[in-house]
Amino acid sequence: MTRKQKRLAGIGAIGVVLMSAVFMVMFALNDEIVFFYSPTDVIVEKKAANGERFRLGGLVKEGSLVKTGNTVSFIITDTEYELKASYVGILPDLFREGQGVIAEGALNASGDFAADTVLAKHDENYISKEVADTLREKGVWQGNGPKNKASSGQNAKAGK
């Protein structure tokens, strides 16, 4: 091979690798992403159809937490609509009624949300951006109560 041909072959090989990577990424981004919905999205706009995996976010409704054996159930609300969720396993330590939560899973046959993952928070002052946005849309920013606003000022900012 001449020098030029060699160079072309090298560039060609690199191109093939990059193209297949791009192809794989695009394919995966089409199939393997998980949407975030609020209860309103699911109930009114019917966004989560036939067994699609999605993340459901909102507040854990006060007084809705029930534990039976290794299964827990609770209600996720965006203050307008609400959806019953169930989960087998151990809830994160910072899971509390009246606070923000994100769970991942799918709707089951009866239209309830079967979660296989409940995302943990590392910090009691933290509320995820998605949940904050959802609540802001509903015009009911509640954050985590006035105590945290005073201590960190961070939720107050997120809520402006």
């Binding site: 998980v34 995302l119 910090d123």
Partner: protein, 663 residues
């Protein structure tokens, strides 16, 4: 008063950084040696002043000075002393102070130990490092000042976030920052080289030790973080492909590519433009990671309360540095002479292959991490990209890399023959196939993929030492002669071997735990017995214990398996009184390379509790692999020191020269 000294020291450090960001570079331009030398004085001084500031903050934490808002919100007078120390960097402000301190530390290392560098290069490197220092000192002083006071001072603090009250936190962030920030030096070298104009093999030789140091710490830091999340969060996972984790993984991938490409540049004076670009990209990715973690633009399972306004500040720093460096690169790279072409079957060809795949992998992780942001900006939809995406993309990209990993070191520079190299790997190949067959024979109903995966791990592990075995040539030289030859091998060869070994060991752990893990979720009462993977866990009851700043309920289990020693496991629910926060302390027993992991839910008054039990086969290999990789890096570094004189001394310098002549 001491806090004010700390604050003031930071301001002085900023002033010195401003001086250092101009004078040495100006001196390099007008060829004034006295101006160039300024950096050698200011850089250690900046480090000392920031260290003083850090000491002042530490003092405030240790003495529980709650008149500082930062101390008040992240500390408690009842904390054990060790956590009063670690609280210093267990929060945003303090950890940023640690960040700039490490930045200044690396600059002062160059100032003190960079005697063998050309004066202009050293001056420029110190100036560029000072630009980064100025940016981040401004960030600390204006948005994240840990020395802010409040009047009147409260009597008691809010305590450190309980999950951070752990020894893992004592080590993980400093390690990670040494890695992240360490790559600032390679960045500064790249910019300095483009300013000074001399980019050759010598440059690569100067940069590689710094890249190695940063890489060793980054590897150890990521592994520590992974292990900390694994045992402290109580959900048994070691990697989640979470934005915060990816933020540290992307620089690791590009940093690993940089290590390998700098090798080509050093030995063959090729890949110059690419190596420069990698040096810029690696630190840019560190900055991007800092931005993602601090701003909270992405939802992460590891998120702490964060502040969007700080995010904007870091974003500006990010844009200036990435934009500026890439612009400079665009102007200068065209004037660089491209290295010669080389044979595809050669050491350098293999390293190009390595770089192609590592860079592609880094880009893939970057796309997956940023995609939710992009989608939200485009059409407002909120999405998350998780494990399935990365399994589908990252996995296939790493596969060819792992398959060819043992081959690379066996190829010689310039021009190599493929078949002799393959012949040398023949024994390794047969062993790997045997391992795969054994796995297939001894496991039932397990996917074939697991056997192939473990076979591949054996291939990488055994192949890592193929080069050394070849050099020793026991068959010809005999045992004594072979050992003698091994003694004479350069340390960097051992470094490579251990680095690659680490990759194989880690793969073994990943495959083992993904394929053969057992999990159980049950509600049990005292005296109940749970069985998993042959182990019987007998629940004896709950013991209440009072700790320094928490109270805890310790569950006591006796674990037995026929033919093995019985042991106890004590998973614990803790309640931290100051923050009124419960935490779960999982109980983990390491049995050879596997672990038995027990986590728990809320304990009811009759002692019944929901238990989550895992049998995690080979999981220790994941972190053991990272340990071998870091070890490999350190071994290489010890070799480099002799040759390059990274570490000072006039003796080192002469040695360097004589070796230079010898080479």
């Amino acid at each position: 008063m001491i806090a004010e000294i700390g604050h003031f020291a930071l301001v002085i450090a900023l002033a010195l950084s401003l001086i250092q960001s101009v004078l040495p570079a100006w001196g390099a331009k007008i060829k004034d040696t006295r101006l160039m030398a300024v950096g050698q004085t200011t850089a250690p001084a900046i480090f000392l002043f920031i260290a003083l500031s850090f000491a002042a903050l530490t003092n405030a934490y240790v003495t529980s000075d709650f008149s500082l808002i930062n101390v008040w919100s992240n500390s408690h007078s009842d904390q054990p002393l060790i956590y009063k120390f670690t609280s210093v960097w267990g929060n945003h402000e303090g950890s940023m102070l640690l960040w700039v301190m490490i930045l200044a530390f690396f600059a002062s290392l160059v100032a003190v130990f960079g005697n063998t560098l050309p004066a202009t290069l050293r001056a420029n490197v110190l100036s560029v490092q000072a630009w980064i220092l100025v940016a981040f000192l401004l960030f600390v002083l204006f948005t994240s000042n840990p020395f802010e006071r409040q009047i009147p001072a409260p009597f008691e603090g809010n305590d450190l976030n309980p999950i951070l009250q752990d020894l893992g936190l004592a080590i993980h962030p400093p390690m990670l920052y040494l890695g992240y920030v360490g790559f600032s030096i390679t960045f500064s070298f790249a910019i300095a080289a483009m300013m000074g104009g001399r980019i050759d093999a010598a440059w690569a030789r100067w940069v590689r030790p710094w890249a190695l140091i940063a890489w060793v710490f980054l590897t150890a830091g990521i592994a520590m973080g992974s292990y900390w999340a694994y045992y402290e969060l109580g959900w048994g996972g070691w990697w989640f492909w979470d934005p915060v984790e990816n933020a540290s993984f992307i620089p690791w991938l590009s940093g690993t590519a940089l290590l390998h490409s700098a090798l080509v540049m050093e030995k063959r004076e090729a890949l110059k433009i690419w190596t420069l670009l990698l040096a810029i990209i690696t630190f840019s990715m560190s900055l991007l990671g800092t931005f993602l973690v601090r701003s909270g633009v992405l939802t992460s399972v590891h998120s702490f309360a964060n502040d969007p306004e700080r995010g904007v500040f870091i974003l500006i720093i990010l844009l200036i540095f990435i934009g500026g460096s890439l612009t400079l690169f665009a102007f200068r790279s065209s004037s660089l002479k491209a290295g010669g072409l080389f044979q595809p079957i050669s050491r350098e060809g293999a390293l190009v292959f390595n770089n192609l795949f590592l860079a592609t992998a880094a880009a893939t992780v970057l796309v997956g991490t940023l995609y939710p942001l992009i989608i939200e900006v485009i059409n407002g939809a909120k999405i998350s990209v998780g494990e399935p995406f990365f399994n589908m993309t990252f996995g296939p990209i790493m596969l060819p890399l792992l398959i060819l990993m043992p081959l690379g070191p066996l190829l010689s520079w310039k021009r190599a023959d493929f078949y002799p190299a393959m012949q040398r790997l023949f024994a390794v190949f047969i062993s790997a196939v045997l391992v795969a067959i054994l796995v297939l024979a001894f496991t039932k109903d397990e996917p074939y993929l697991a056997a192939i995966g473990i076979g591949l791990a054996a291939w990488v592990i055994l192949g890592a030492f193929a080069e050394i075995a070849t050099r020793a040539n026991f068959r010809k030289a005999g045992l004594v002669g072979g050992l003698h030859r091994i003694k004479g091998l350069p340390r960097s060869m051992w470094g490579t071997a251990f680095g690659h070994l680490g990759m194989g060991v880690m793969l073994l752990g990943i495959v083992g735990v993904s394929a053969f893990e057992k999990e159980l979720v049950v509600e049990i009462k005292p005296k109940d017995v749970v069985t998993i993977s042959g182990y019987e866990l007998k629940y004896n009851g709950v013991i209440p214990v009072t700790g320094p700043n928490y109270s805890e309920s310790v569950l006591n289990f006796t674990v037995s398996k026929p033919g093995e020693k019985t042991f106890e496991l004590n998973p614990t629910k803790r309640f931290y009184t100051a923050r009124k926060t419960p935490t779960t302390e999982a109980a983990i027993e390491t049995i050879w390379l596997s672990q038995l992991y027990v986590s728990l839910g809320d304990i009811k008054s009759d002692g019944s509790v929901v238990l989550r039990v895992w049998w995690k086969p080979l999981i220790v290999c994941i972190w053991l692999g990272a340990f071998f990789m870091s070890l490999g890096g350190l071994i290489s570094l010890s070799d480099r020191r002799l040759r390059v004189g990274v570490a000072k001394t006039s003796k080192g310098r002469t040695k360097f020269k004589s070796l230079e002549n010898a080479v």
